[in-house]
Symmetry: C2
Subunit: 221 residues, 2 copies
DNA sequence: ATAATAGTGTCTTTCAGACAGTATTAC
DNA sequence: GTAATACTGTCTGAAAGACACTATTAT
């Protein structure tokens, strides 16, 4: 599982320090039981290993890794990869219930030595999350039930990396019917109070939000 | 496996008549061997069951189905779903090497009684193919190595269902660098000869081609 | 010449991006 | 008042959609 959240405006993933092999980190996960779906097994390991409850997170199936030799010690292990998104939940921090699990900034995680093909899985998971933000309302999974427009924009900026124009973002989000819904509440801070929104009924965004990195790639003709 | 091709300008899928259960059809597939990846197993069953070689098709992993009870007779079968795309190849028609395999128009296939959760898998596979055409060059997998612009447009029209404006399609495809490459050859028919193209080096299309059905959904605000 | 198919020009509309400007609060 | 943050108006440019037009062949 590639478990992602925002901490301090930066995208973090959970890595586990495998004591058996010093200095090598792995993604959280575990075996399936008989009579249990892969999804249920993912929820179970999230609870057991990471201390996250079913209602704290959103799961998205990534893909299945089955190359022989991907885990040298076993003849062949087939793993179903998942992307797990949650709002930042300090009280369920991995250190509370396990020994070696930690939130690591993804930029740092990419440079660390990971077990087996976990670096591939991490890369696939982060890329999936980035892509999903373009055309789904999945960004709201990174936030508490009520959030401001700035906070939602902050999710996009953190996950995609880069700056989004507040005015255009605001207009785009509100132009998609059912993306977000006004709650009528407001959050008071230093300046003008911000309206609070919650996730709306529409799961897909069309036309999609355009990603900074993708835009640059497109214009580099 | 959801095996898709174009026949007579219409999208077809392979279904297999399961003799054990009269009138119930299933998707082609089979078990994995030890020491074999899911991808290799897919290629093997394509050869054994359907008579399609590795170079005739393009594989795209769909997702993994693992709900307990999805196959009532077994305690729990975990299946890795694949979308398989190929150019129409009469000489490798499924009937050549198997008894009950047939190309069925997908519209018809959706109305037929399918075994287990194969209707879900078929739906997921067709939807995946439709989505992939938007932002990848996968449409070329439905065509022989050299093809005309009309033929490429025909793939989009068949898979998406609906009409695309020839002029705009032509301009859009050529505006994406590396989507297609001119071969210098031409195909002569009834009117002006058509230039032949082959798939270019760019796997992704950005900005994507916009799908008719998605557009209508968006404009129905 | 005519029909048929391939391909181009161009106008309109839509929408993203830039950025100046206005609104509402805490202090 | 000032500073800070939230939000709006408006201009520009890029690209999609519509559709009239030109090009090149077989007959």
């Amino acid at each position: 599982m590639v478990v992602l959240t925002l901490l301090g405006g930066e995208l973090h993933a959970i890595l586990i320090d495998t004591r058996a092999d010093a200095g090598v980190w792995s993604l959280p996960g575990g075996f399936m039981h008989r009579g249990e779906s892969a999804e249920r097994a993912a929820y179970r390991h999230l609870e057991e290993v990471v201390g996250l409850g079913e209602h704290d997170v959103v799961l998205d199936q990534l893909r299945t890794y089955s190359e022989p030799g991907r885990q040298p010690h076993d003849s062949r292990v087939v793993s179903v990869g998942w992307v797990v998104l949650g709002a930042q939940l300090p009280q369920t921090a991995p250190s509370a219930r396990t020994t070696g699990a930690q939130w690591i900034p993804v930029d740092v995680a990419f440079t660390m030595p990971l077990a087996f093909d976990h670096a591939d899985i991490l890369r696939d998971g982060v890329e999936r999350a980035r892509a999903r933000l373009e055309y789904t309302n999945l960004a709201t999974a990174f936030l508490p039930p009520e959030f401001t427009m700035s906070e939602l924009r902050g999710v996009y900026e953190a996950v995609w990396g880069g700056h989004l124009e507040p005015a255009n973002f605001h207009r785009k989000v509100l132009s998609v019917p059912g993306f977000v819904v006004e709650t009528g509440h407001a959050r008071h801070g230093r300046g003008r109070p911000a309206k609070l929104y919650r996730a709306g009924p529409t799961p897909t965004i069309n036309p999609p939000l355009t990603r900074v990195s993708v835009r640059e790639q497109a214009s580099a003709r």
